[in-house]
């Protein structure tokens, strides 16, 4: 298991070198979150985090996923700071013998990271900056686990 909270950009291919290299790995699932701009007005996304708590909170979430599914590897990277459109925000990767476990664990990690890891997003647009509101759907997503 590897958890990284960082300002720097990351490259999916580089991060996955050697990931899940155990002979028991048959399936690797990755999720990458990207700064999105559907209206063409976003200048930047600012991500604030609670430095003392982030790594610990993410590690706990990853450990819960490992307890629940038979995973041969888990990786979580989450960035903070000022990010431009198209930049990667975060990623998770899961490795398992079978695809169902790898998919489920990746979705579980995402659902918990959204609502339980101390990060806050602010959208900076020409007309002003605004904190992103938490979605009820994200909170509700936890109920399925």
């Amino acid at each position: 298991m590897r958890v990284s909270v960082q300002a720097e950009a990351f490259d999916l291919g580089t991060e996955l070198a050697g990931f899940g290299s155990a002979g028991s790995t048959g399936a690797v699932v990755t999720f990458t979150g990207v700064v999105r701009d559907e209206t063409g007005t976003l200048e930047a996304l600012e991500i604030e985090h609670y430095a003392g708590m982030t790594t610990r909170a993410i590690t706990e979430i990853a450990q819960k996923a490992q307890a629940r599914w038979d995973l041969s590897d888990v990786l979580v990277i989450h960035r903070y700071g000022v990010l431009g459109v198209g930049a990667p925000i975060m990623m998770v990767a899961t490795a398992s013998a079978h695809r169902a476990a790898a998919f489920e664990a990746a979705e579980y990690l995402m659902d918990y990271l959204k609502s339980r890891a101390p990060f806050w997003k602010k959208e900076v647009r020409s007309e002003g900056a605004q904190w992103v509101a938490a979605k009820h759907a994200d909170q509700d997503a936890l109920d399925r686990w």
Binding site: I89, L113, P118, W120, A134
Partner: protein, 83 residues
Amino acid sequence: MTLEVLYFAWVRERIGLPREQVETQAATVADLVAELIAREARYEAAFADISALRVALDQDLADFDAPLCGVREVAFFPPMTGG
């Protein structure tokens, strides 16, 4: 006791600082919030709707009725929006 109190996102912006030391005898998080609200309007603005806030005690998520006994660090913030 002396608590390290941290604020994040719009809570930080409304209060105007990221962290401060607070000397208090508050028994619970809710008591601490009441004390802060009584101080100044900017705290009142930040804590106006407690249901819109989350609290962590020593970096673990907690409830507003949790006791502060033995706690060193209290953090207030809106619901997380990472991922």
